[in-house]
Point group: C2
Chain length 472, copies 2
C-alpha cells in the first residue's frame, strides 16, 4: 500500500492547510472512512458516446467504483465510488451569461480534479464560475459520503456527509453535515451542520435544522462513519449495487420504451414500471417504482413503493418512499421523503420539495398542489411550519420567518428561479423530446459504451490505477 | 460506418501491394469475413499486473473482442477477437542469443501492430528476429480465423485460416490454410495449404497434407468463411464464450487450487477438475477435462472428455477430445486430436504431437510413449506412416521420407529442440513452480486486473475505438 498511503497523506495535508483558519483537521474526519483494502477492490469506468467530447486522463490516482462521462482530468486524487458526470459541460463557442455579460468559451470545458479525496460524491453539471468558464476545478478538497458538488468549483474545502454545494464557488470553506449551499462566491466560510442556504442578488432563503431533530437522521463524528436513518437506509441497499456492478452486461429486468433510458448500473426491483421519456441514471435504485412519462431518477436517488405521475424530478441523492407524486413535482438533492406504509404521502401537482428536506411520516399526509416545503416534517403540524403556497411565496418582498426558516427579498424571483431550473432539468433529461424534438439524456444515454479500468492488484502501486489518457 | 470502411480499404490495399508477386488479392479473401456490425458489437480488454511492464496505445483501430497483456501499440488496424499476449516479451537489459552472438536489449520489447487486419488471431511470445529485438512488428498483414503469429514478425503477409507462423520472420509471404511455418527469414514465399515446415540450420522437416484429406477438416475459398470439421467444431462452441464474456465477474464453477490459474474468460463445463500448477488461459474451453498437475490449456485450445495426466502441454489452438494423455505429452498448435467416443485415444508418456496434426478416430488407438506423430491419422494404419519413435528419429543423419513427410539433417537436433521447447513452455507456465520456486503464468495470472474498452456506438466513428494511451 506504500504509494497509496503516501497519496492519502499528500491530499489530506493540502486540505488541512486550506482549512487552518477553522483549526479543523480533515485527517481525523476522513482518513479511515475507506480502508486501503476497499480502495483496491473496485473498478472504475467511463462512458464513451458520440455526443460528448471525449477526453479522460487519470494519473497517480485511485478511482475505484467511480464513473466518468464527459471530459475529465484526475491527478493525485482518490475518488471512491464517485459519479463524475460531465455530460452537461459547456462547449467551445458556447456562450455563458453572467450578470448581464456574455462570455464566449475558447475551448471545451473540462472537469479537473487534483489533490482531492472524494467519497461517494457526485460531481455534475458545469462550472457556474464565470472566472474560469472552461474549467470546472476541484482541488485540495475532501468530501465525505454522498456529498454533491454541483456546478460548483471548490478549492481547499471540506464537505461533510450528504452536503451539497450547488452553482457557487468555494475557497477554503467547511460545509457541515447535510448542509446545502447555493450562495455565490464564498471565501473561508464555516457552514454549520444542517444549514440550507440559498442566496442570490435579490433573495435569500435560510433554514437550519435543530441539532436534535437532524441527529437521528444523519450525524457525523470525526473518525467514524456517518450514522443515522439516512445512512442506514443507503447502506442496507448496497448489496443490490454489488450485483449490478459485478454483472454489468446482464439484461434489465424490465421493458424500457424507446426514448427512455435505464442505466445498466441502476438497481431495478419489484413491480417497477418505466414509461416513455424516463431517465434512470446509474446508481439509482428503483423498487416497485412507477415512473410516469418524463419522470427521472438521478444518481444516488432511491424510489421505493412510489408512483411518479409525470415529469417529476428526483434530484441527485433524493429518496422517495411510500409516496404518490402528482405531475411536475420536484424533490431536491439528498431529500429523504418517506410516507407511512399503507398510507402513502401524497404530493400535489407542481410542488417543490427543497433540497435536503426530510419528510418522515407515520400517518397519511397530503401536500397541496403548488407548495414549497423544507426542513423536517414528521406530521401535519410540522408541515404548517415548513411549507408555503407558491402563490403566497410570490407575494413576499421583505423579510419573513417561519419556524427556523428566514426568507429575505423577492419571493417571486425565488419561485421563478426554481421553476426555471426544474424546466431546464426536464429539458436536458429528455422529458420534452416528443414535443420539441430536442434529445436529452434519456435519448442519448442508450448509446453509451462503458469502459472498465482497474487498479494494480499487487506491488508497491497496489491500489493505484495506471496512467491512462483517452482521446477521440 | 464511414471511418471504419475507409480503414478496411486502407489496410487491404497495403496488404495487396505486398503480395502482388503472387497476383493475390487479399480483398476477396478477407473483406467480408467479419461484418461491420460485428466489429461494433464487441468490447476489447487489457490486463494490468505488477509483473509486466505496462504500455498500451490503441489509435484509429477496432480491437473488438481482443485481449492484450504486456506492451502493445496498435494503430490503423482491425483486431477482431484476437489474443495479443505480450507476457513473455523481452525486457530492457535482457540478453538474446542468436547464432552464438549475444544481443543486449536497450529497451523493453513492444508488440507493434500497424495497418493490419487480424481475425481470431493469436499473437504471443516474443520476436525471434535478432535484427529488431525491441520490437515485435506486425505490419500490412491480414490473417484469417484462428491464425497464430508466434514469435514471428510479419510484414506484408497473408495468413490463411488456422495458419501458424512460429519463431521466424516473414516479408511478403502468403501462408496457406492450416499451414505451419517455422523456417527462419522468409521473403516472398507462397506456402501452399496444409504445409508443415520446420527448418533450422541443421535439419528440415516438411509434410504436406493431401488436398483431399485436409479439405473435410478445413478449407477456405475467397469470400466465404472457412469451412470444415474443425471450423464447425469451434463455431458450435462459440455460445459458451458469449456467456463468459458477458459475465466476466461471475464465479468459476470449479475450485482452483493455489498456484493454478483459470482465466475468467475461459469456458469450464462438465466434470472438469483442475489440479495444482495448472494454467487455463483465456478463450480455452474445458468440458469434462481432467487437468493433472502442471498441465496447461493455452489460448483457443479445447479439451473435452479427456484426461491430461501431468505436465501436458496443449498449445494454442489445439483440440483434444476423447483422449487420455500420459505424462509430458505435447500437443502442438492447432492440432485436432479426437479419439473414438467410449474408446479414447491413448497417448503415451513423452509423445510429441507435431503442430497442425489431425488425429480423428472411429476406434481405439494407442500411441506408444516417446513417439513423434504428424499429418492426418484416421486409424492404426495411418499411424505407421505418420509417426516415428523418438529414439529412431535421433539416429537420423541424412534424408528420410515416410508418406508425405521428408526429413533431412540431424534427427537428434530436431528432437532436442522440441524437448527443450516443451521444457521452456512448462517452465514459463509455472508447472515447475514447486520444484524451482520460479513463478510462471499459472502463479502470476491470478493477479491480473481486467480493463474493458469499447468502440463508439454511433456517429461517423462508429466501430472505431477512442484513442487510448496507458502507462504505469
Amino acid at each position: 500500500m506504500q504509494q497509496l498511503e503516501i497519496l492519502i497523506d499528500r491530499i489530506l495535508s493540502r486540505v488541512n492547510l486550506n482549512l487552518r483558519p477553522f483549526n479543523f483537521k480533515v485527517d481525523e474526519s476522513i482518513r479511515n472512512l475507506v480502508s486501503s483494502e476497499k480502495l483496491t477492490r473496485f473498478y472504475g469506468f467511463y462512458g464513451v458516446t458520440s455526443q460528448h467530447p471525449l477526453q479522460f486522463n487519470f494519473s497517480r490516482s485511485n478511482v475505484g467504483g467511480s464513473y466518468f462521462l464527459g471530459k475529465c482530468v484526475v491527478d493525485h486524487s482518490i475518488l471512491h465510488k464517485c459519479d463524475i458526470r460531465g455530460d452537461e459541460l459547456k462547449r467551445k463557442g458556447d456562450t455563458f451569461e453572467h450578470n448581464g455579460g456574455t462570455i464566449v468559451l475558447g475551448d471545451d470545458e473540462i472537469i479537473r480534479i487534483r489533490d482531492s479525496f472524494l467519497i461517494h460524491t457526485l460531481v455534475h453539471n458545469y462550472s457556474h464560475d464565470p472566472e474560469h468558464p472552461e474549467e470546472f476545478l476541484i482541488q485540495n478538497t475532501a468530501a465525505a459520503h454522498y456529498a454533491n458538488i454541483h456546478g460548483a468549483p471548490v478549492e481547499g474545502c471540506f464537505l461533510g456527509p450528504f452536503a451539497t454545494v450547488d452553482l457557487c464557488t468555494l475557497h477554503g470553506c467547511k460545509i457541515g453535515t447535510f448542509s446545502y449551499v447555493q450562495a455565490g462566491d464564498l471565501f473561508h466560510e464555516n457552514i454549520p451542520d444542517g444549514t440550507i442556504w440559498v442566496k442570490r442578488d435579490n433573495f435569500e432563503f435560510r433554514y437550519t435544522f435543530d441539532e436534535k431533530g437532524l441527529a437521528p437522521y444523519i450525524h457525523f463524528e470525526p473518525g467514524k462513519l456517518p450514522e443515522g436513518i439516512i445512512m442506514d437506509f443507503v447502506e442496507s441497499r448496497k448489496e443490490g449495487f454489488r450485483e449490478v456492478f459485478e454483472n454489468p452486461y446482464c439484461e434489465l429486468p424490465i421493458d424500457v420504451p424507446e426514448g427512455s433510458a435505464v442505466s445498466p448500473y441502476s438497481v431495478i426491483r419489484g413491480q417497477t414500471v418505466v414509461q416513455e421519456l424516463v431517465l434512470v441514471s446509474q446508481r439509482a435504485y428503483l423498487d416497485s417504482a412507477w415512473m410516469g412519462p418524463g419522470a427521472n431518477a438521478q444518481e444516488n436517488s432511491y424510489i421505493i413503493n412510489s408512483r411518479l405521475e409525470k415529469n417529476d424530478v428526483t434530484a441527485h441523492g433524493a429518496k422517495i418512499i411510500n409516496a404518490h407524486l402528482a405531475e411536475r413535482v420536484f424533490v431536491g438533492f439528498n431529500s429523504f421523503v418517506r410516507g407511512a406504509e399503507g398510507n402513502p404521502l401524497k404530493i400535489g401537482k407542481g410542488c417543490m420539495v427543497m433540497p435536503h428536506t426530510i419528510i418522515d411520516l407515520e400517518e397519511g399526509l397530503e401536500i397541496p398542489a403548488e407548495t414549497a416545503v423544507w426542513g423536517l416534517i414528521r406530521n401535519a403540524e410540522d408541515l404548517k411550519l415548513h411549507s408555503i403556497a407558491l402563490k403566497d411565496l410570490e407575494t413576499i418582498t421583505g423579510e419573513v420567518s417561519l419556524g427556523n426558516m428566514v426568507f429575505k427579498g423577492n419571493g417571486k424571483a425565488f419561485a421563478d428561479v426554481f421553476r426555471k431550473r426544474i424546466d431546464h432539468i426536464l429539458e436536458v433529461n429528455g422529458a420534452y423530446y416528443k414535443e420539441t424534438g430536442q434529445k436529452g439524456h434519456a435519448q442519448d444515454d442508450s448509446f453509451i459504451s462503458f469502459n472498465i479500468i482497474q487498479p494494480y492488484l499487487t506491488g508497491r502501486y497496489k491500489g493505484l490505477f495506471p496512467t491512462i489518457d483517452i482521446r477521440p
